[in-house]
Amino acid sequence: MSGAPLLEARNIVKRFGGIEALRGASFSIARGEVVALMGDNGAGKSTLVKTMCGVHRPDGGELLFEGRTIRFDSPKAAQAVGMEIVYQDLAMAPDLDASANMFLGRELKREGFAGRLGFLDKRTMRERTRNALASMQVQLKSIDAPIATLSGGQRQSIAVVRAVTWADKLVIMDEPTAALGVAQTRAVLELIGRVKASGRAVIIISHNVPDVMAVADRVEVFRLGRRTARFSRDRMTTENIVGAITGAISTEEPKQ
């Protein structure tokens, strides 16, 4: 690892009106690392992630990307440096097919005059979708079907593959397995392993301790708007994690 973390948040403060959602929250992830972000409801996980990828502007603290201080003024700015977020609602159009969703908002147009008229290059988009799905070993019942007809796991997989396609450094997933059954959950966890193998870092927000233990290199636990515990792989036990989430265990220095 070359020194600086890929992405680091230092003492981030975020307020919504009178409510302080983040009270000096810190977080870091190295290149190619899978880090789970855990904590009870309202601990500030989603707010932190949204602040890190430009959805919210922080009210205090510092954000560093590859060692340099950075400010994302919009989600586009975060995307431009190679970060993508897989929202919990997946941000998919259920009536459109896999390829239309892969390229949602980034549609390819044809070359030349037809392209200037706005005609889509459906063939290339379909081909790239097929390749991207294949490279992550995602099998679909049909690549041409509206994705509403696919299973929850397949939809989640398309969302992950889409994020991987557009992000070459970091993919953030908000509760990727929350709505899935056992077999589908396993498929998505395996997919996360392949994302890691491709060299990208992954942040997973999750409530599910077994899922986290299966894929994460490290866990960072949040409570009441700040990080209260960090566990590396060898200290990641159900007991430690649950203890930190409920507030019984803390590995961080308390703030003054």
């Binding site: 159009a93 239309a100 549609e107 706005g118 005609f119 099998q139 679909l140 509206p146 509403a148």
Partner: protein, 327 residues
Amino acid sequence: MTTQTATPLSSLGGFLTGAGRILVILLIILVAFSVLRFDSFVSGANIRNIGMAASILLVMAVGATFVIATGGVDLSVGAVLVFSGVIAAKVMAAMGAEGWGASLVGILAACLAGTAWGVLNGLLVAKAKIPALVATLGTMGAAQGLSWIIAGEDLKDVPMELGDTVGVGDFLGVPMLVLIAVLVTVVGGVWLRSTRFGRHTLAIGSNVTASREMGIPIARHLISVYALAGFLAGLAGILSLARYGSTTISGHATDNLSVIAAVVIGGTSLFGGRASVFLTAVGVLIPASLENGLIMVGLNTFWRDVMVGVVLIVAVYLDQMGRSQRR
């Protein structure tokens, strides 16, 4: 290979039991009337009548297909048609109500007037966040009222050049009105299916939050879609003026319902996200051929309203069933 394209035959079968089933219904209606009254129903003159009756509605329905595809609705089309016709008649009267010069300016004026109402609808829906139903109900009343205020009475200042060609004229044996409607349908259909504009239209209707998260400019796109519907209502305004030689101000109060019915019968989902301009054309032809055929067989034409009502409800019911099955 994760998928194989279905054979042409089975995909046609899928089409006819799915979105295309409405085409089957139209065919049944046509065959039934043909069997009952072959000579009069299948005559050239009668097919012409059906086509001309459907044309003006179809032009508006193409725009409505885009609006409904976004999950919106436009109740103002009939009133905008009337308003655009009034503006065009006023402008053409000021130019002497004759000659091609006046006609072309009239066409332009109608399209501009329609587009202006469309942009207003779009701003109300996309920027002021007023529900489309309310916003376009408001502009419907305003456009209708202003039409009466500006015109005072039905205006009849239509240049002969315009009426004799666009209104009732033919080109290669096909009524100009029908040709214009077909052209609008083909362009609209290809645009919805094959361009980024069409893709964004469907994406917004399918999931507006996702579309926003993925960077589609929602407000700008919605304004364009309502502007398109307004433009086509304006075009319909000049077509109607050319055909009837009058602004027919009180004759379009239920156009909006006819248009919405046609779009929905054509399988476009009222919830947005799924739409076909070509099947909207089928949805326009069903009421048109029913009305015509019922007269032929000597039944009261009010049966048309009953039958269209039934077809409409069945179409929406099937759409909802399809949706709940997929969840």
